[in-house]
Subunit: 201 residues, 2 copies
């Protein structure tokens, strides 16, 4: 990788990408979910949109090679590489404090929603409420009876995805702090992930 | 019904509901998809959110009795009644002009996105880009191989849903103008629907 960076467990970051840059996200320990958003750098009201992606793919989740589009149906990223089993979620929102209240947490709890806001704040942007994230490595099986369940990720240590920017954009990543349901693995323990930006050549 | 209203084929409307009001939406001809949004009347940035609804339901679509929640996880509507087979879509975005361009239309085509903007404009509101709609009666089967398909609605003439407001809100309805894929029935012909507001007693 061009330069290794670690995203510590439970935290987020916002990264500026130029068209053609690749962002490699490594599931270092294998079981960490990474919530991912992308905003048009020129107009953050245009953002990667899971509903529009599903309409493009005619599937629930992306495969390597698929474009990821915005709420204006413009390509913003491409899933250039995916060495994981390809199980990612587009159905569920990011976690937030209200969700942790529903799950019985009474005090403070880190959340992807807070990470999204904090990360964009470091770039001087007033964050909107989080759009639907691409939940990388998140495993939400759909049962035959139509029910959705939460299962540990199927990814393995070192599995990675590479996202290629199709427009100048801001990508926000959050190493999901969930530690109640087995979202981030059967041990319910959030972990670090690694990432690197590989500039366009 | 308290007062019958007809929503002409291909058009939209925005309706103010008080808490406890019920909005009955009748699939008069049986095969019409109705895109539906709900915004908090006090703060339209808070809106009904399909991603948060799925996280509440742990299913892809609502059943009679289910709450519909916002991007702040607050109940905004309740699916109080549903006489249809219960097939509704939460996965696909509303149609827009760009989608019709992708489907080969070169000139003007009515769209749910335009209906959303026009309807909110009649209330003096500057509409955001449309959030993910609840696509009432829309039939997007998920195949065993994970592929999504577009099928005619399973609803029958006279089937209806009743949505109960759980906060003062603005509901936007669009009788989907889609006439290329069989979204609105095997005859690809958009049709009128009827609706009525039944005030809280």
């Amino acid at each position: 990788m061009d330069r290794n960076n670690t995203l510590p467990a439970r935290t987020g970051t916002a990264l500026r990408l130029q068209q053609g840059d690749r962002l490699k996200i490594v599931n270092t320990h294998g079981s960490q979910v990474v919530d991912c958003w992308a905003l048009n750098a020129a107009d953050p009201a245009e953002h990667m949109s899971m509903q529009h992606c599903r309409n493009l793919w005619y599937r629930l989740a992306p495969r390597a090679g698929d474009l990821l589009v915005t709420n204006l149906r413009n390509p913003i990223l491409r899933l250039a590489e995916d060495t994981s089993p390809g199980i990612h979620d587009t159905l569920f929102p990011c976690c937030d404090l209200k969700r942790y209240r529903q799950l019985g947490i009474e005090g403070y709890h880190a959340s992807c929603a807070e990470n999204f806001a904090t990360a964009l704040g470091t770039l001087g942007l007033a964050p909107p409420l989080p759009p639907a994230p691409l939940n990388l490595f998140m495993n939400i099986p759909l049962r035959v009876d139509g029910g959705l369940t939460v299962a540990p990720p199927a990814s393995r240590p070192g599995d990675y995805v590479a996202l290629e920017a199709r427009m100048p954009c801001i990508v926000v990543l959050s190493a999901c702090p969930h530690d109640i349901l087995p979202v981030t693995g059967a041990d319910n323990t959030p972990k670090d992930v690694d990432y690197a930006i590989l500039p366009a050549v």
